[in-house]
């Protein structure tokens, strides 16, 4: 039951984080050291720290999943998150830094000479911080629960101790090092697998990307149903089925399935021929009015008013970054306003780089592993995609129907199993996606 590679990876990341954070220990002596890292953090370091703080599981897992499940319009999230820092650069970064406060409530009080505003801002900072803290705590609890079998509260307490110790000893300096480390770790964790998969994928049909194209299997593919599920076929097709399909028991029989909804019981195995349409699970079914290649967002409106929904997300993401207290306070660690400006520009570059990769992974999924559409959790795409390719570039795309061996090539330490068994990795993925809440309901950072 114990997942040794996963436990080792989590332990390594935790130890590295503590070690990196400990670099700040000797330095934090005065309030200036503790609260604003003595205001001497250079732009490059601060930019990486801001990016590390900003990018979480929603960006790491959520965006790729959203693109796979809802279409290219979900790219607006990554565009908006990045452009938000451009707005921050243009309107906020340098003046905020020049004001020279310690925290956002300090700024609010000093700028507008109001104790009441200070209290209100403090309340808002606490509320925002609470909503960031809660999913992290829950994620830690669930992850340790799954991997070590500890009670839920152990992970929560462990996370609290590690983070509190880090901050108490290192102050802002320690936090800066930790967050910078986290950015580069996250970039490597998503970038290296994406580049390797891209190289492995090589040339091939881009048919699944073509406008209006319903995804089709590029190879004969066996889909193992782990948990009973409903799925939808875009057009009629012929499959070989072992197990219960549409309440009929079948033993390696060829059946013709009409287009529309079908029900597969757990344990059923369906063999799709190359060129068959990829079935879509409930969460992946798009409103009839939109297609996968639509440049508009439809989440939350069921396909109605796509243009308004898109502009809504653009406005929210563009101006949302202006209001993140944990990001704003980081600008006080820069030496001066000019450095704050350079920091923000570098953040735009770093985020742009990062957000290339969820798109790459989502497109590769669409092209090469469309059976992930059967998964009920699109957030698992990033975790599950590498699995089919584990056998090496030569046999890439072919081994869908293999049973799942140990995870060797997953961007996250948590287990992923053969992608064709689209449901079996759900338990471990739940822990990861829970770290930042469901990306589908709220793709916040």
């Amino acid at each position: 039951m114990l997942n040794v590679p996963a436990v080792a990876a989590i332990a390594a990341v935790t130890l590295l984080t503590v070690a990196v954070g400990a670099r700040g220990v000797r330095i934090a002596r005065t309030p200036d050291d503790f609260l604003v890292a003595a205001r001497e953090v250079p732009p490059g370091l601060n930019a990486a720290a801001i990016s590390g703080e900003y990018l979480s599981a929603a960006s790491f897992l959520g965006i790729a999943g959203l693109i796979v499940s809802q279409g290219l319009g979900a790219l607006w999230y990554s565009v908006g998150y990045t452009a938000g820092y451009l707005v921050l650069l243009l309107l906020v970064a340098a003046p905020l830094r020049r004001f020279g406060a310690y925290t956002i409530p300090d700024f609010a009080e000093g700028r507008f000479a109001s104790r009441g505003l200070r209290r209100a801002t403090t309340g808002l900072v606490l509320i925002i911080g609470w909503f960031y803290l809660l999913p992290q705590m829950k994620g830690a609890g669930i992850t340790l629960q799954l991997l070590l079998g500890t009670p839920y509260w152990v992970g929560v307490v462990a996370l609290g101790i590690v983070v509190s110790a880090n901050i108490a000893m290192g102050g802002m300096k320690g936090v800066t090092f930790v967050q910078c480390f986290q950015y580069w770790l996250k970039l490597c964790a998503i970038g290296i697998p994406a580049l390797v998969l891209l190289a492995a994928a090589g040339h091939g049909s881009t048919r699944n990307l073509s406008p209006d194209g319903q995804p089709v299997f590029s190879h004969r593919t066996t889909v193992q149903v782990q948990t009973g599920t409903e799925f939808k076929l875009a057009r009629p097709t012929t499959v070989r089925v072992t197990g219960t399909l549409d309440r009929t028991r079948l033993a390696d029989q060829t059946v013709h399935l009409p287009a529309g909804m079908h029900t597969a019981a757990s344990g059923a195995a369906m063999v799709f021929a190359a060129g068959s349409p990829v079935p879509a699970s409930l969460s992946m079914i798009q409103p009839a009015s939109t297609t996968w290649d639509s440049p508009f967002l439809t989440a939350g409106t069921d396909g109605a008013h796509p243009l308004l929904a898109t502009y809504g997300v653009i406005i929210a993401t563009l101006f949302g970054a202006l209001g993140l207290p944990h990001i704003l306070v980081r600008f006080y660690t820069n030496p001066d306003g000019g450095a704050a400006r350079r920091t923000t520009l570098i953040v735009v570059v770093l985020l742009s780089t990062f957000y290339l990769f969820p798109a790459v992974l989502a497109v590769l999924t669409r092209l090469r592993a469309p059976e992930l559409y059967l998964s009920k959790d699109p957030d698992s795409v990033v975790l599950a995609l590498p699995c089919p390719c584990r056998a090496g570039p030569a046999s890439f795309l072919v081994r869908w129907s293999r049973p799942a061996p140990s995870p060797l090539f997953s961007p996250l330490p948590l287990a992923c199993s053969s992608a064709s068994q689209a449901r079996c990795h759900m338990t471990s993925c739940a822990a990861v996606s829970a770290r930042s809440g469901s990306a589908r309901s709220l793709p916040g950072r």
Partner: protein, 164 residues
């Protein structure tokens, strides 16, 4: 508690500190804290009003420092120029971003266009728009620094650099 009059003064100082171009303000906050540390090891954990005033006093820039009408006018001109630059860059960025959905909605052919087999939407939103964002940011950074350099040359022709 401070009187309303003091509040007003603080607000004014705060505004000046925020708007002022000099990079020195922040460093001054440290100076203030250090001076107090030296005197009685009194630790200012919460940022205080008078730090804004302190910062303002230590700029060391003649007219700008002594809070004369002329000095305020100088700072105001710089603030105006910077705000104009910000708004110009912001409108460029917003025009680029906000025009995309409308163009896509009005031109169905653009929605269906492909570049080397990849949908145009993917090429633009997945990669192409990022260099545009970076370019706007880079341009703004350069222009803002130049504005500040010109301001410093104006108020301090002898050449005491503020960012020393």
């Amino acid at each position: 508690m401070t009187s309303p009059a003091e509040h007003g003064a603080t607000a004014q100082h705060g505004a000046t500190a925020e708007d002022g171009a000099t990079a020195q303000h922040g460093a001054t906050a440290e100076d203030g804290a250090t001076a107090e540390d030296g005197a009685r090891r009194r630790k200012v954990v919460v940022w205080q009003h008078d730090q804004a005033r302190l910062q303002h006093d230590v700029i060391g820039l003649g007219d700008v420092q002594s809070d004369t009408v002329y000095g305020r006018l100088l700072v105001r001109s710089l603030t105006r120029a910077q705000l104009g630059l910000s708004l110009m860059c912001l409108s460029i960025a917003l025009a680029v971003i906000a025009s995309l959905p409308v163009v896509m909605a009005l031109l169905p052919s653009a929605r269906k266009a492909t570049v080397a087999g990849l949908p145009l939407t993917l090429v633009i939103l997945g990669a192409g728009i990022f260099p545009v964002l970076m370019a706007v940011g880079w341009f703004y950074n350069r222009q803002a620094s130049q504005l500040e350099a010109r301001f410093i040359d104006l108020v301090d022709p002898v050449g005491r650099r503020l960012d020393a």
